[in-house]
Symmetry: C2
Subunit: 114 residues, 2 copies
Amino acid sequence: MKVDHISQVPAQEMDMPGAEKVKIQWLVGERDNPPNFYMRRFEVEAGGCSPKHSHDYEHEVYVLDGEGLVWSENGEKSLGPGSVVLVRPGEEHQFRNTGEGPLCFLCMVPKDAK
Amino acid sequence: MKVDHISQVPAQEMDMPGAEKVKIQWLVGERDNPPNFYMRRFEVEAGGCSPKHSHDYEHEVYVLDGEGLVWSENGEKSLGPGSVVLVRPGEEHQFRNTGEGPLCFLCMVPKDAK
């Protein structure tokens, strides 16, 4: 069993093209060698966004704090604490902070995601 | 893409033997047919606990609110908002609420968990 706390996990700047003011923490990552999937925590500063992109694996997202939206080809939907998003493989998507404070969310991905 | 909110997801009493005052919400569940894993939200009332048990699949847990502990054969560890727990397959474990208010956490499991 591993027990950790977000205050102990280093945050890295997300350097993917299109990412603006996004930090990522790998709460359960490669170093833990979990059987099936990883848990990451994102913090998007006011005015920031994740890249508009798609990939062949899913996201399962839970919004912890802040205000934002998720964009897809079908439109935009508002997000706040307690919002849940399932992005299916192949769906183009983008998360944007629309609030004054940070937008924080968990994003789980399968292990075979890069 | 599915966008939902915890306020829209029904909570069920956890009826597993040993569970006390535990409610579960399937935020991403069988109805969504996700590719790899499910997302559940647990709410444990003051004085409540999950069963002391083990199984052949992992838990990935993120504590949202409240105070509690996780028990394993190696002892107990305190939990609070922002705590992260990886329970590996086969590890006996139990979550207990040690606070005055509800203990709320997310718990992700692979799809082949029952």
